[in-house]
Symmetry: C2
Subunit: 426 residues, 2 copies
């Protein structure tokens, strides 16, 4: 009850502020700042249906955008450190995306309230854009930023944010399904408001907690490594300008310093500290690189791990090097027997004489760059075997060998539908 | 014409020898040795239809077996060196199998000539056994013995034998297809005789040329390595007794000495030498092991080859080590984005919080040995993605990690029938 009264109070205040804004847009900042900064973006979004009773959608959108600007610029300085960074700094990019996400959340709420089957096309692009934050903005945080914070012992915050991200992703899936059918107006309106609110709420938690924490804990080298990687995932909206530069050597998450100084600790947002109840953050001091590790492009493995990894693949592998010699084969449950005697053998000698011309043709086309792949399939003892040849090239595109894979695809062909849950019985 | 007269002459001689053998089996060796050793096994097989006119099948079989023994024991000593080796020596095993193959070829000819639809069951087991030489006796030669001979420059002989093996394999496939339908008596009779003749002819070329050549050229260490490998492929009939022992260190084909001494050269079978026309055999001096190679269980790869090989697989790979850390991921056209920041990350942190309990359950069951595999499939953007987890164990069965593979199986599901030929247009 008191919650409803409070909500009603907020709505009255918002409506008043909006009337003033309609009279004189410039006056909003001076006269209503206190009112506006006392209401969260999620609170304003909840008021959208009421606002639409008295104002045009354009007015609501205009007011909402002005409100977001005022809300963000009124945040205390320690929450706005990310905003002050050079464009292109990964944290500045997250901050700027978050502002755009907050705006787009408002637009989704408005479009959702105005939804009808005839006007579905007005909602779709807004929903699609906002949904894309799940595999850009959120993915960058979860996949690239979070590992550094884990290393430094920050875990409760990121777990709770990740849960929110996932709930929002799930809500978007539900709305997509609803929009795919013959959706009821009321249902879409509810869904849009709910998604918008949760999105805005999550964005504010990131602004309040995640970004200040990352700002305080991460070093320039750590940001440099994040910068190298974030482009692989992609951005929400336009990619950032590239003005931020650093001379620092990139530091990967597994090399990051887990130690947190007392100064850093003291500077963390109060609620991050309060979760710890006076305890220190416990960093992750695991030594990732081991003696004997082979440094690979994207990982460190012992030779025995390389063997075991390849030998547990659900396909057989043979590698022929650029001298046309068999250089490696896997020892899975093989479809075609291989023994060490094949190592060093010229590939022409590993096939029945009548197939040699086909092998020659494939490898020649791989070597001179005309082709990248060849495939065959045959039935052996009732099993369908898929045999593939791939041209293997180094990062400069030069031919370094041919990979043969043989896979029993009999059972794969029977897979239907989806299996999202573990089917073990116990 | 002269060929037919000669054949007729042989048949008359065989018939006479057989009559004498029926009178007095023991006398065959003394009285008819000269006649018998002048006729090849293939020649005797060609005479089987005539023999069956005058003698019972049991008599023909008994005579044929006696003939094979006499034929083999009459070979010059340099062609019988393989026979003198200890049981278990790989070359002795080949020799003994060859004797059995020669006998079984005779039986196939006899059963084939007596074939009728009612008596198909008499032919099938003989044909099935003889056919198995294609993936035991022949495979061992092609896969394990031939690489050593290639290394030493012997290539014409092995190519021509391999062609014969393949022709015989193909004839067996044809006969199998014929037997699967409603075969004509005459056709099966012809096929059986043809296969038997070619099998016997190939066996004799092996006895005459391949085994003496291998006997002269291969070292004890080379035979030791062959011995280690041959069991993976398997034997024709019963596995050999294991009386042969050697102290020599196994020498893999890629380490084998390509040099042939003058004495070895002089001792080679005349027809092997005559192919060379006085030239030396040109051995294969390729250095298989390179600086920087990582020694794997079944091959030698440079780190950049390991990277390239894994990254060209038709599936995505992630490896979690026994400390539950992400230790490696492949960089194929990935279905799920991975960046270096994931390296060293605890696997629990790489998944949305709500999936963590599933990941925990899988890894726990892998670690304690209860399970070896888990699979899921989901549709993403219209593509069916097959996600599998494999317990990775070392050779002692101890858990060393978990392998995740993600494969787009959308196109694999559409594969039908067979594609045995390259489909490139040009």
């Amino acid at each position: 009850m008191s919650e409803i009264l409070k909500e009603n109070g907020i709505q009255v205040k918002i409506t008043e502020a909006m009337k003033a804004w309609r009279e004189d847009a410039g006056s909003l900042r001076e006269k209503n700042r206190a009112v506006l900064t006392g209401v969260s973006p999620a609170g304003v979004i909840r008021a959208v249906p009421i606002m639409l009773n008295d104002f045009t959608p354009e007015e609501v959108m205009g007011f909402y955008k002005a409100y977001i600007d005022i809300f963000l610029e009124s945040l205390p300085v320690e929450k706005r450190s990310a905003e002050q960074l050079q464009p292109g700094h990964p944290l500045k990019t997250l901050w700027d995306e978050n502002r755009e996400i907050l705006r787009d959340a408002g637009e989704l709420a408005i479009r959702g309230c105005l939804f009808s089957r005839e006007r579905a096309e007005k909602l779709r692009p807004v929903a699609a854009k906002l949904r894309s934050m799940g595999f850009t903005h959120y993915d960058r945080e979860e996949m690239v930023l979070f590992p550094y914070l884990e290393k430094k012992g920050v875990s409760a915050l990121i777990t709770s944010l990740w849960r929110s991200h996932d709930r929002i992703r799930e809500r978007f899936r539900e709305m997509n399904r609803a929009l795919g059918g013959a959706p009821e107006k009321e249902k879409i309106r509810e869904m849009s408001l709910k998604i918008s609110e949760e999105t805005a709420d999550t964005a504010i938690r990131e602004t309040d907690l995640l970004y200040p924490t990352a700002y305080i804990l991460l070093s320039p080298g750590e940001w440099a490594a994040i910068k190298e990687q974030e482009g692989r995932i992609g951005y929400y909206g336009k990619p950032p300008e590239d003005r931020w530069k650093t001379d620092a050597e990139p530091v990967q998450a597994y090399e990051a310093d887990p130690h947190i100084t007392d100064e850093q600790m003291a500077a963390l947002p109060a609620s991050v500290r309060s979760v710890l109840g006076g305890m220190q953050l416990v960093g992750d001091y695991y030594e990732f690189k081991r003696g004997g590790d082979i440094e690979l492009n994207s990982g460190y493995l012992l030779p025995e791990e390389i063997d075991a990894l390849i030998n547990h693949l659900p396909l057989d592998v043979t590698f022929i090097d650029s001298d046309d010699r068999v250089r490696f084969f896997s020892e899975n449950a093989r479809s075609f027997v291989r023994t060490p005697s094949v190592l060093g053998r010229l590939v022409w000698f590993c096939h029945p004489p009548k197939s040699v011309s086909t092998v020659e043709k494939i490898i020649e086309a791989f070597r001179n760059g005309e082709k990248d792949e060849a495939e065959f399939w045959i039935t052996i003892n009732g099993r369908l075997m898929h045999i593939r040849y791939f041209a293997v090239r180094d990062r400069w595109g030069d031919y370094i060998g041919t990979l043969e894979t043989v896979q029993d695809i009999t059972d794969l062909k029977r897979i239907e539908g989806e299996r999202r849950l573990l089917d073990w019985e116990d």
